[in-house]
Symmetry: C2
Subunit: 132 residues, 2 copies
Amino acid sequence: MAITGVYETVLYAADVRAAAAFYATVLELRLVDGPDELAVAFRLDDGGVLLIFDPSRSSLPGRPAPSHGATGAGHVAFSVEDGTLDAWTETLRERGVEIELEKPWLNGGRSIYVRDPAGNSVELVEGDLWPA
Amino acid sequence: MAITGVYETVLYAADVRAAAAFYATVLELRLVDGPDELAVAFRLDDGGVLLIFDPSRSSLPGRPAPSHGATGAGHVAFSVEDGTLDAWTETLRERGVEIELEKPWLNGGRSIYVRDPAGNSVELVEGDLWPA
Protein backbone atom coordinates (compact mmCIF):
# COMPACT_ATOMS: atom_id res chain seq x y z
CA MET A 1 0.00 0.00 0.00
CA ALA A 2 1.93 3.00 -1.24
CA ILE A 3 1.54 6.21 -3.14
CA THR A 4 3.37 5.58 -6.39
CA GLY A 5 3.52 9.06 -7.87
CA VAL A 6 1.81 12.34 -8.57
CA TYR A 7 -1.10 11.69 -10.94
CA GLU A 8 -2.51 15.22 -11.36
CA THR A 9 -0.47 18.40 -11.11
CA VAL A 10 -2.56 21.57 -11.03
CA LEU A 11 -1.90 25.15 -12.09
CA TYR A 12 -4.34 28.05 -12.13
CA ALA A 13 -5.07 30.66 -14.80
CA ALA A 14 -7.91 33.15 -15.03
CA ASP A 15 -7.78 32.71 -18.82
CA VAL A 16 -7.74 28.93 -19.27
CA ARG A 17 -7.77 29.10 -23.06
CA ALA A 18 -4.74 31.38 -23.22
CA ALA A 19 -2.84 29.11 -20.84
CA ALA A 20 -3.93 26.04 -22.80
CA ALA A 21 -2.57 27.55 -26.01
CA PHE A 22 0.80 28.10 -24.35
CA TYR A 23 1.15 24.55 -23.05
CA ALA A 24 -0.14 23.01 -26.28
CA THR A 25 1.70 25.16 -28.79
CA VAL A 26 4.84 26.41 -27.06
CA LEU A 27 5.59 23.38 -24.84
CA GLU A 28 3.87 20.88 -27.17
CA LEU A 29 2.03 19.05 -24.42
CA ARG A 30 -0.72 16.67 -25.54
CA LEU A 31 -4.22 18.01 -24.96
CA VAL A 32 -6.69 15.34 -23.81
CA ASP A 33 -9.66 17.33 -22.45
CA GLY A 34 -10.93 20.88 -23.00
CA PRO A 35 -10.11 23.67 -22.91
CA ASP A 36 -13.33 25.24 -21.70
CA GLU A 37 -13.89 28.10 -19.28
CA LEU A 38 -13.27 25.86 -16.26
CA ALA A 39 -10.28 23.72 -17.14
CA VAL A 40 -7.96 21.98 -19.56
CA ALA A 41 -6.11 18.66 -19.24
CA PHE A 42 -2.83 17.54 -20.75
CA ARG A 43 -1.39 14.04 -20.68
CA LEU A 44 2.37 13.68 -20.19
CA ASP A 45 4.38 10.87 -21.76
CA ASP A 46 4.94 9.22 -18.37
CA GLY A 47 1.19 8.95 -17.75
CA GLY A 48 0.85 11.98 -15.48
CA VAL A 49 -1.73 14.68 -16.09
CA LEU A 50 -1.37 18.48 -15.97
CA LEU A 51 -4.59 20.34 -15.20
CA ILE A 52 -5.15 24.08 -15.45
CA PHE A 53 -8.20 25.56 -13.73
CA ASP A 54 -9.79 28.99 -13.58
CA PRO A 55 -9.75 29.44 -9.80
CA SER A 56 -12.86 31.65 -9.83
CA ARG A 57 -14.81 28.64 -11.18
CA SER A 58 -13.03 25.68 -9.55
CA SER A 59 -13.43 27.28 -6.12
CA LEU A 60 -17.23 27.43 -6.36
CA PRO A 61 -19.12 25.05 -4.07
CA GLY A 62 -21.43 22.40 -5.49
CA ARG A 63 -19.09 21.07 -8.18
CA PRO A 64 -18.80 17.28 -8.66
CA ALA A 65 -15.39 17.37 -6.96
CA PRO A 66 -14.21 19.22 -3.83
CA SER A 67 -13.59 22.89 -4.44
CA HIS A 68 -10.11 24.34 -4.83
CA GLY A 69 -8.58 27.38 -6.48
CA ALA A 70 -5.45 29.42 -5.85
CA THR A 71 -4.34 32.84 -7.02
CA GLY A 72 -0.82 34.14 -7.48
CA ALA A 73 2.05 32.63 -9.41
CA GLY A 74 2.33 28.86 -9.13
CA HIS A 75 5.30 26.77 -10.17
CA VAL A 76 5.82 23.57 -12.11
CA ALA A 77 8.92 21.84 -13.43
CA PHE A 78 8.95 19.48 -16.39
CA SER A 79 11.64 16.95 -17.24
CA VAL A 80 13.06 17.08 -20.75
CA GLU A 81 15.14 14.42 -22.44
CA ASP A 82 18.87 14.55 -21.69
CA GLY A 83 20.76 16.68 -24.15
CA THR A 84 17.73 18.69 -25.30
CA LEU A 85 17.71 21.66 -22.90
CA ASP A 86 19.80 23.87 -25.21
CA ALA A 87 17.50 23.07 -28.11
CA TRP A 88 14.51 23.92 -25.90
CA THR A 89 16.11 27.24 -24.97
CA GLU A 90 16.57 28.12 -28.63
CA THR A 91 13.08 26.93 -29.57
CA LEU A 92 11.41 28.90 -26.79
CA ARG A 93 13.25 32.07 -27.84
CA GLU A 94 12.18 31.49 -31.45
CA ARG A 95 8.61 31.22 -30.17
CA GLY A 96 8.90 34.60 -28.48
CA VAL A 97 9.22 33.32 -24.92
CA GLU A 98 11.66 35.14 -22.67
CA ILE A 99 14.03 32.92 -20.68
CA GLU A 100 13.83 34.37 -17.17
CA LEU A 101 16.76 32.35 -15.82
CA GLU A 102 19.19 29.66 -16.90
CA LYS A 103 20.55 27.78 -13.93
CA PRO A 104 23.16 25.04 -13.58
CA TRP A 105 22.76 23.00 -10.39
CA LEU A 106 25.58 21.67 -8.21
CA ASN A 107 24.83 18.04 -9.05
CA GLY A 108 25.03 18.52 -12.82
CA GLY A 109 21.35 19.15 -13.53
CA ARG A 110 20.35 22.26 -15.45
CA SER A 111 17.15 24.32 -15.56
CA ILE A 112 15.62 27.09 -17.59
CA TYR A 113 12.68 29.16 -16.33
CA VAL A 114 9.96 30.90 -18.29
CA ARG A 115 6.50 32.29 -17.44
CA ASP A 116 3.19 31.05 -18.79
CA PRO A 117 0.56 33.65 -19.80
CA ALA A 118 -0.90 33.58 -16.28
CA GLY A 119 2.48 34.32 -14.71
CA ASN A 120 3.15 30.82 -13.41
CA SER A 121 6.84 29.96 -13.19
CA VAL A 122 7.55 27.09 -15.60
CA GLU A 123 10.86 25.26 -15.36
CA LEU A 124 12.37 22.79 -17.82
CA VAL A 125 14.92 20.47 -16.23
CA GLU A 126 17.62 18.28 -17.68
CA GLY A 127 18.90 15.76 -15.12
CA ASP A 128 17.95 15.50 -11.49
CA LEU A 129 18.20 18.33 -8.94
CA TRP A 130 16.96 16.76 -5.72
CA PRO A 131 18.34 14.10 -3.39
CA ALA A 132 17.31 10.62 -4.53
CA MET B 1 13.09 16.82 -28.02
CA ALA B 2 10.10 16.33 -25.75
CA ILE B 3 8.85 17.01 -22.29
CA THR B 4 8.74 13.59 -20.66
CA GLY B 5 6.79 14.33 -17.49
CA VAL B 6 6.16 16.60 -14.56
CA TYR B 7 9.30 16.69 -12.42
CA GLU B 8 8.22 19.06 -9.63
CA THR B 9 4.65 19.48 -8.43
CA VAL B 10 4.16 22.41 -6.05
CA LEU B 11 1.67 23.13 -3.27
CA TYR B 12 1.65 26.06 -0.88
CA ALA B 13 1.21 26.20 2.89
CA ALA B 14 1.77 29.09 5.29
CA ASP B 15 2.91 26.51 7.86
CA VAL B 16 5.38 24.36 5.92
CA ARG B 17 6.27 22.19 8.92
CA ALA B 18 2.64 21.29 9.62
CA ALA B 19 2.08 20.41 5.98
CA ALA B 20 5.31 18.41 5.90
CA ALA B 21 4.18 16.38 8.90
CA PHE B 22 0.94 15.50 7.11
CA TYR B 23 2.60 14.33 3.90
CA ALA B 24 5.35 12.45 5.76
CA THR B 25 3.28 10.84 8.50
CA VAL B 26 -0.25 10.51 7.13
CA LEU B 27 0.55 9.88 3.44
CA GLU B 28 3.98 8.34 4.14
CA LEU B 29 5.79 10.26 1.42
CA ARG B 30 9.58 10.14 1.56
CA LEU B 31 11.15 13.37 2.81
CA VAL B 32 14.35 14.31 0.96
CA ASP B 33 14.93 17.97 1.87
CA GLY B 34 13.75 20.19 4.73
CA PRO B 35 11.37 21.10 6.12
CA ASP B 36 12.42 24.62 6.98
CA GLU B 37 10.41 27.84 7.00
CA LEU B 38 10.60 28.15 3.21
CA ALA B 39 10.00 24.68 1.84
CA VAL B 40 10.02 20.91 2.04
CA ALA B 41 10.68 18.31 -0.68
CA PHE B 42 9.37 14.77 -1.01
CA ARG B 43 10.49 12.18 -3.56
CA LEU B 44 7.85 9.93 -5.09
CA ASP B 45 8.54 6.34 -6.10
CA ASP B 46 8.31 7.22 -9.81
CA GLY B 47 11.10 9.83 -9.48
CA GLY B 48 8.84 12.87 -9.30
CA VAL B 49 9.18 15.47 -6.55
CA LEU B 50 6.48 17.18 -4.46
CA LEU B 51 7.48 20.59 -3.11
CA ILE B 52 5.58 22.63 -0.55
CA PHE B 53 6.45 26.32 -0.18
CA ASP B 54 5.42 29.09 2.17
CA PRO B 55 4.14 31.55 -0.45
CA SER B 56 5.02 34.58 1.69
CA ARG B 57 8.69 33.54 1.40
CA SER B 58 8.85 31.92 -2.07
CA SER B 59 7.27 35.03 -3.60
CA LEU B 60 10.00 37.36 -2.35
CA PRO B 61 12.31 38.76 -5.04
CA GLY B 62 16.03 38.07 -4.97
CA ARG B 63 15.84 34.34 -4.34
CA PRO B 64 18.15 32.01 -6.32
CA ALA B 65 15.16 30.90 -8.42
CA PRO B 66 12.33 32.94 -9.98
CA SER B 67 9.72 33.98 -7.46
CA HIS B 68 6.34 32.26 -7.18
CA GLY B 69 3.73 31.79 -4.49
CA ALA B 70 -0.01 31.20 -4.54
CA THR B 71 -2.69 31.47 -1.88
CA GLY B 72 -5.98 29.62 -1.65
CA ALA B 73 -6.64 25.90 -1.83
CA GLY B 74 -4.53 24.05 -4.37
CA HIS B 75 -5.11 20.52 -5.59
CA VAL B 76 -2.97 17.45 -6.17
CA ALA B 77 -3.83 13.85 -6.99
CA PHE B 78 -1.60 10.90 -6.17
CA SER B 79 -1.75 7.45 -7.72
CA VAL B 80 -1.98 4.51 -5.35
CA GLU B 81 -1.39 0.86 -6.18
CA ASP B 82 -4.39 -0.97 -7.62
CA GLY B 83 -6.50 -2.60 -4.96
CA THR B 84 -5.26 -0.39 -2.13
CA LEU B 85 -7.72 2.51 -2.14
CA ASP B 86 -10.07 0.92 0.41
CA ALA B 87 -7.14 0.23 2.72
CA TRP B 88 -6.06 3.86 2.30
CA THR B 89 -9.55 5.04 3.18
CA GLU B 90 -9.52 3.00 6.37
CA THR B 91 -5.98 4.05 7.25
CA LEU B 92 -6.71 7.74 6.74
CA ARG B 93 -9.77 7.52 8.97
CA GLU B 94 -7.70 5.74 11.64
CA ARG B 95 -5.25 8.63 11.41
CA GLY B 96 -8.03 11.11 12.08
CA VAL B 97 -8.36 12.42 8.54
CA GLU B 98 -11.87 13.11 7.30
CA ILE B 99 -12.71 11.71 3.86
CA GLU B 100 -14.38 14.66 2.11
CA LEU B 101 -15.60 12.63 -0.87
CA GLU B 102 -15.40 9.11 -2.29
CA LYS B 103 -15.97 9.11 -6.01
CA PRO B 104 -16.22 6.33 -8.58
CA TRP B 105 -15.47 7.48 -12.13
CA LEU B 106 -17.23 6.35 -15.29
CA ASN B 107 -14.17 4.55 -16.63
CA GLY B 108 -13.67 2.41 -13.53
CA GLY B 109 -11.19 4.59 -11.70
CA ARG B 110 -11.94 5.62 -8.11
CA SER B 111 -10.87 8.58 -5.97
CA ILE B 112 -10.99 9.70 -2.39
CA TYR B 113 -10.46 13.32 -1.37
CA VAL B 114 -9.05 14.74 1.86
CA ARG B 115 -7.63 18.12 2.93
CA ASP B 116 -4.08 18.78 4.06
CA PRO B 117 -3.53 21.11 7.06
CA ALA B 118 -3.32 24.13 4.73
CA GLY B 119 -6.66 23.28 3.12
CA ASN B 120 -5.27 21.93 -0.15
CA SER B 121 -7.48 19.29 -1.77
CA VAL B 122 -5.58 16.00 -1.85
CA GLU B 123 -6.91 13.14 -3.97
CA LEU B 124 -5.82 9.51 -3.97
CA VAL B 125 -6.63 7.71 -7.21
CA GLU B 126 -6.85 4.04 -8.12
CA GLY B 127 -6.84 3.54 -11.87
CA ASP B 128 -6.91 6.20 -14.56
CA LEU B 129 -9.53 8.95 -14.85
CA TRP B 130 -8.45 10.89 -17.92
CA PRO B 131 -8.37 10.12 -21.64
CA ALA B 132 -5.14 8.38 -22.59
